[in-house]
């Protein structure tokens, strides 16, 4: 046995809790959004100092708020600090998802996937037996030692004990929206500024802070105009860039997520003022789309992606869902299953639909 000792990288343990380095970079830290397929779209995760805006133009569903719940559950599970800005923040957090009740449940597939497993037992040509199943999405392996990403179960609600502990330890902060004030947006920005603390220029070793704003611009925020929302996002993003340990996720209510509210170019403005801007356009209001795509619940439109320290967003190189490294970009869709929300590539169904397939 030689005396040669391999120098193991000690940087692994030095990253702030729940973060890891962006692949291909030595200074950008990323945090998980709680949804592995969304992390893949963003290029590995949401980088610290970045602002994510989720738009959900469908008025009948709440996918924007669902993404926010994943964001805050992931933060709590990873041991990071979270700030929730909402008119009833405690209620919002109580409705969030949590880790599966037991590890056995975590290993179970959903009902739909079980039936697909049964189909696999039918005989297929020998040359195809070795091929992997066609993958439309990215899943994560839940390594229990890994603090970066945890697998959440939508059927499991966040225990009140976890919330109480987090509030007592000052890990979870609630910021109420001061609706009696004249300009709630300015007051909320001041409170966020106090919470962020002193400015930094170097990458931070402080505990990461997640700022979660579900339904930003809802009526409780007062009479908002497009310029007020733009001002908030602009100032928030600038604060995040000066305090390098935080990231933020904002979702807009349905009526604000449409071009018709803010005028022509409204969605583009939101894209310019945020680092990652994604629209989840659900099919629930459009029966013809639900019929054409029965296995999906909505389209995913990407308006902008985070590129914190580079010309090209890392997602272009590292995202397997977007598929830019192979050829043109894939169309993306999302689907809310019983236990999780999944983003996947959109494929047209068999011509005529499965129910109309002729056998004669």
């Amino acid at each position: 046995m030689s005396s040669f000792k391999r120098k193991t990288s000690t940087k692994q343990g030095e990253n702030p809790s729940g973060t890891k380095l962006l692949p291909g970079s030595s200074s950008v830290l990323i945090a998980s959004t709680g949804i592995p397929s969304l992390d893949d779209i963003l290029g590995g995760g949401l980088p610290l100092t970045c602002l994510q805006v989720i738009l959900a133009p469908d008025a009948h569903t709440g996918y924007g708020e669902l993404v926010q719940k994943y964001f805050l559950s992931q933060g709590l599970a990873s041991g990071q600090d979270i700030c929730v800005i909402h008119d009833h923040p405690r209620n919002f957090v109580e409705g969030s998802m949590w880790l599966p009740v037991s590890s056995a449940h975590a290993a179970d597939d959903d009902q739909e996937e079980k039936t697909e497993g049964d189909d696999a037992k039918i005989k297929i040509a020998w040359r195809y037996e070795q091929m992997k199943k066609f993958q439309t999405t990215v899943t994560s392996s839940d390594q229990s030692g890994d603090n970066f990403h945890k697998v959440f179960d939508l059927t499991s609600k966040m225990p009140a004990l976890v919330i109480d502990n987090a509030v007592a330890k000052k890990q979870l902060t609630f910021l109420d929206i001061p609706s009696l004030e004249e300009r709630p947006i300015r007051r909320v920005l001041e409170q966020i500024n106090e919470l962020l603390g002193p400015e930094e220029t170097e990458p931070s070793v402080r505990k990461p802070l997640r700022i979660c704003v579900p339904s930003f611009g809802a009526p409780v925020w007062g009479d908002v105009e497009p310029k007020d929302l733009c001002y908030f996002l602009y100032t928030l993003r600038s604060m995040l860039q000066r305090h390098r340990h935080a990231c933020a996720s904002v979702s807009l209510p349905s009526y604000l997520s449409e071009e018709s509210w803010g005028g022509p170019g409204w969605i583009n403005k939101l894209g310019w003022f945020s680092d990652a801007c994604i629209s989840l356009s659900a099919f629930s209001a459009n029966p013809s789309l639900s019929a054409i795509f029965p296995s999906y619940h909505g389209f995913v439109h990407i308006h902008s992606l985070p590129a914190p320290l580079a010309l090209v967003p890392p997602s272009d190189k590292y995202s397997s869902l977007r598929g830019l490294s192979s050829s043109g970009e894939n169309n993306l869709a999302f689907k809310c299953m019983r236990k999780r929300l999944v983003f996947e590539t959109l494929h047209l169904d068999l011509e005529g639909g499965v129910s109309e397939r002729r056998t004669t």
Binding site: S27, R183, I185, R186, L189, E190, I192, N193, T201, P226, K227, D228, C230, Y231, Y234, T235, R237, S238, M239, Q241, R242, P264, G265, N268, K269, G271, W272, F273, H303, S304, A307, P308, L309, A310, L311, V312, D316, L324, S325, S326, S327, G328, E329
Partner: protein, 245 residues
């Protein structure tokens, strides 16, 4: 070479307008101009100076990208050859009133930073955000006109950036900028959407009433294609692979 068909810097005392869209951001044009300015001045007698007025901030990104082009911003800032003005941290803090903020302090800072007899470049990134966050359109227009006049008088190169959010339509501020600029570098996305190998297209237009001098205009129909890499951007003609495709 296609790279030389797009001007990196305007002639001294002239204005280069860069417009872009969300799917094809033109950050790389600004970084290219800054790098060309400092590298070009290496052989000259006067020292190069640059003032970057960044509405969207993020000095860290400028430093990180330009390090890959061998331009050390930290050193330039320390030697006062580069002044980086982060508008968000100095003029738009949470205590400020969101509406009706005067842009006069920013103008005064620009004027204060220009010195006589120096080879100076001013980069203003970007004007549209100022208008979108609530500064009245007339204030932004006056500010733009004042900065353009100041740069002309001081024989300083000016690069302005403006975002276009409604494809093919002009808003009032863009109409004004087209009157003032010498060249317009028009960066727009491919009509078929994003591609792995082509990031977007660039066209070059002359400003209103200008004569063609060093650079021939490139209409949108014959636009150059560009591809962004980690380090820089590569331009190539449409219909040619040029080692990129």
């Amino acid at each position: 070479m296609s790279d030389s068909s797009i001007p990196t810097l305007p002639p001294p005392g002239q204005i280069l307008l860069v417009t872009d869209e969300l799917a094809s951001p033109a950050d790389f044009i600004l970084y290219r101009s800054l790098a060309a300015h400092f590298k070009g001045a290496a052989g000259k007698s006067t020292s190069a100076r640059c003032l970057v007025v960044s509405v969207s901030g993020n000095l860290a990104k400028w430093k990180a990208v330009l390090t890959k082009s061998n331009v050390n911003l930290t050193q330039l800032i320390a030697s006062r050859s580069l002044v980086f003005l982060d508008v968000a941290s100095t003029h738009f803090t949470p205590e400020h009133d969101s509406a009706a903020t005067s842009l006069r302090p920013i103008y005064d800072q620009i004027r204060g930073a220009l010195l006589e007899g120096e080879d100076t470049l001013v980069i203003l990134d970007d004007l549209s955000s100022l208008e979108w966050i609530g500064t009245p359109g007339i204030e932004v227009a006056r500010f733009t006109r004042a900065v353009c006049a100041l740069c002309r008088k001081s024989n300083v190169m000016l690069v302005l950036r403006q975002h276009v959010i409604t494809h093919g339509e002009l808003d009032d501020l863009l109409r004004l900028l087209l009157q003032l600029c010498t060249y317009r570098v028009d960066v727009f996305p491919l009509s078929s959407g994003r591609s792995g190998s082509v990031s977007g297209q660039i066209a070059l237009h002359l400003g209103a009433g200008r004569r063609e001098t060093d650079f021939r205009p490139i209409p949108r129909s014959r636009a150059l294609l560009y591809r962004l890499t980690d380090v820089s951007s590569i331009f190539f003609e449409r219909g040619t692979g040029a080692g990129v495709l």
